[in-house]
């Protein structure tokens, strides 16, 4: 997948979902869209997980500094 932002991906998922829910697409296109939507969801989930992890990491590092300072 090419470089894209979380927000862009999320927006695209919304669009794809809507299109699919309308149900006017040819089968092949439906499947292709569904495939893309699922991949984007996976991407977003991963991004979120990574964000959470980096926040946790920063918090942990700060805790360490604080502890060191006030020991």
């Amino acid at each position: 997948m090419k470089e894209k932002s979380f927000e862009e991906a999320l927006e695209k998922i919304e669009k794809i979902t809507e299109k699919l829910e309308e149900g006017n697409l040819p089968l092949k296109e439906s499947i292709e869209n569904f495939k893309e939507g699922t991949e984007l969801l996976k991407f977003c989930n991963n991004e979120l997980k990574e964000a959470e992890m980096s926040i946790q990491k920063i918090v942990d590092e700060n805790e360490k500094i604080k502890l060191k300072k006030f020991k």
Binding site: F6, L20, E21, S30, G37, C44, L48, K66
Partner: protein, 510 residues
């Protein structure tokens, strides 16, 4: 040429002075007599010359005209004529009027009569525009002290043979360090004003001090005024105090509680800072030199901020901090200076020049360093906020994605193709139906056909008692196809008969 400058009244007067009668003058000047009277009357008002009114106005008339003028005024001759008896002529009235005017103005011409307000204002200006009286220091004893409603103070300042009224208004007395009382010996600074309502003068007191402090205090005030005028106290010269100093310089005495308190507070609040102390005298004659030297030296040592301090003491004890040399040293310092001198109520010149005044040495210490625990608490708070903020963002995205994932499309993705499947199923059924129908039709067609076929079949005749005769599986339809001795098969309804030909007769059958 000079003649031209002589006015018409003066020409008449000249003739009059030569002893001519009014009629004669009128004749000479070719004017009517009333005009000559007018000239003369005017001259009487403005000039000095011998004139005997009795020659022109009867004595009894003189009195009447005088009265008429005092009742109706002397503006209009006609008004006077109207109130006077008929026999008094316009000429008499006019001459009398001129004569009286002259008498009226003559004795008063050099005297100005003042109203009370005018003279009081004059005195007021004399006093209040006098430089000496506008900035005076006066020492005396308080008497008749009143303090109306706790606002303005009024009192007399007296000594043995003299007394002067004083007023000290609220804006000046609100910060007074002591309560003035009857009989107190004080020194006041103020300016003299005239109080018009009472017609007296009084000192408007701006500052008041117990006479005991006397000279030093006056010196203090004078220096303060001087430096203030020079601008040494101006806000624009105040340097900002660094929030997180690394090195703090202190100018103070190594003895006394001040330095110990300061170090204790700094160590407690902000332990990582370095402290450089310049030990100095803080009272006595030498103090001003060592104190100013301290500022100078610390300026060379790259400290971030200087605390200039000493503990409490009497006004005289704190005096070195009121010396001009100190003020100059503080002003010259390129490093910000915090003062903490004496107690809260003590204000020294150093305090005014300093970049920041703390009320006490301890307060100076608290001002100079931040509280590390407070900072870290603040930081922790801030960190928490930041963390919550980020987590909120992530959480809200998570919700969004959770919502999407729970939509029917992603929850039951096969629903996506169900419609196609259904469609397909329907089509399949349709197709089957069509085929089935087709087959049925053909079946039916076939049955009919079979009937027809049966009717035409050679076997059909067997049922009706006919037989078929075959030679080598070929139907014998003519006698010519058979020879004597041949074996033939005869097929009947229910079997087959083999026979040998013994005879044959050809004849017409059909």
């Amino acid at each position: 040429m000079p003649k031209k400058r002589i006015s018409t009244e003066d020409k008449t007067l000249l003739l009059f002075k030569q002893g001519k009668t009014l009629d004669e003058i009128a004749k000479i000047r070719e004017l009517v007599k009333s005009t000559i009277v007018g000239h003369l009357s005017k001259s009487l008002e403005t000039q000095e010359f011998d004139f005997d009114i009795n020659k022109f106005v009867e004595l009894s008339h003189q009195e009447l005209i005088r009265k008429a003028i005092s009742s109706v005024g002397d503006k209009k001759l006609r008004d006077l004529k109207n109130v006077l008896p008929e026999d008094i002529s316009y000429d008499e009235i006019e001459l009398m009027r001129g004569f009286l005017k002259k008498r009226e103005t003559k004795p008063n011409s050099n005297i100005k009569i003042y109203s009370i307000d005018e003279i009081t204002t004059y005195i007021k200006n004399l006093i209040e525009r006098n430089e000496v009286l506008q900035d005076v220091w006066v020492k005396g004893e308080i008497s008749n002290f009143t303090h109306y409603g706790g606002k303005h103070m009024y009192f007399d300042l007296k000594e043995e043979n003299s007394i002067i009224r004083c007023a000290m208004f609220y804006r000046s007395n609100m910060n007074l360090e002591f309560k003035p009382k009857e009989g107190m010996e004080i020194i006041v600074k103020g300016h003299v004003e005239v109080y018009k309502r009472r017609g007296n003068y009084q000192i408007i007191v701006e500052e008041m001090q117990l006479a005991g402090k006397g000279k030093l205090y006056i010196k203090f005030l004078q220096l303060k005024e001087k430096l203030e005028k020079e601008g040494l106290f101006k806000k624009e010269f105040k340097k900002p105090i660094p929030k997180f100093p690394k090195v703090i310089g202190i100018v103070t005495s190594l003895e006394g509680a001040a330095i110990r308190d300061i170090i204790k507070i700094i160590k407690r609040r902000y332990p990582h800072v370095k402290i450089l102390i310049y030990p100095s005298f803080v009272q006595g004659n030498e103090a001003k030199y060592t104190l100013s030297k301290g500022i100078e030296i610390l300026n060379k040592l790259n400290v971030d901020v200087i605390i200039f301090t000493r503990g409490g003491g009497s006004f005289e004890d704190l005096w070195p901090f009121n010396e001009e040399i100190i003020a100059r040293a503080i002003f010259k310092s390129t490093i910000p200076i915090i003062t903490g001198i004496g107690h809260e109520i003590d204000f020294t010149i150093a305090d005014f020049v300093a970049d920041k005044r703390a009320p006490t040495p301890s307060a100076a210490a608290e001002l100079v360093v931040p509280n590390e625990i407070e900072i870290s608490n603040n930081l922790a708070n801030f960190g928490n906020k930041l963390y919550k903020y980020l987590i909120n963002i992530v959480e809200s995205y998570k919700k969004q994605i959770f919502y999407i994932q729970n939509r029917p499309l992603f929850k039951r993705p096969f629903s996506l193709i169900e419609q196609y499947r259904q469609n397909l199923d329907e089509k399949t059924i349709q197709l089957k139906q069509i085929l089935f129908n087709k087959i049925e039709i053909q079946k039916r067609e076939f049955k009919g056909f079979k009937g027809k076929l049966n009717a035409l079949s050679p076997y059909g005749v067997l049922n009706r008692g006919y037989t078929l005769t075959l030679k080598e599986d070929k139907i014998i339809s003519s006698i010519k196809n058979i020879n004597l001795g041949d074996v033939v098969s005869t097929i009947v309804k229910d079997g087959e008969i083999k026979s040998k030909i013994q005879n044959k007769n050809e004849r017409e059958i059909i």
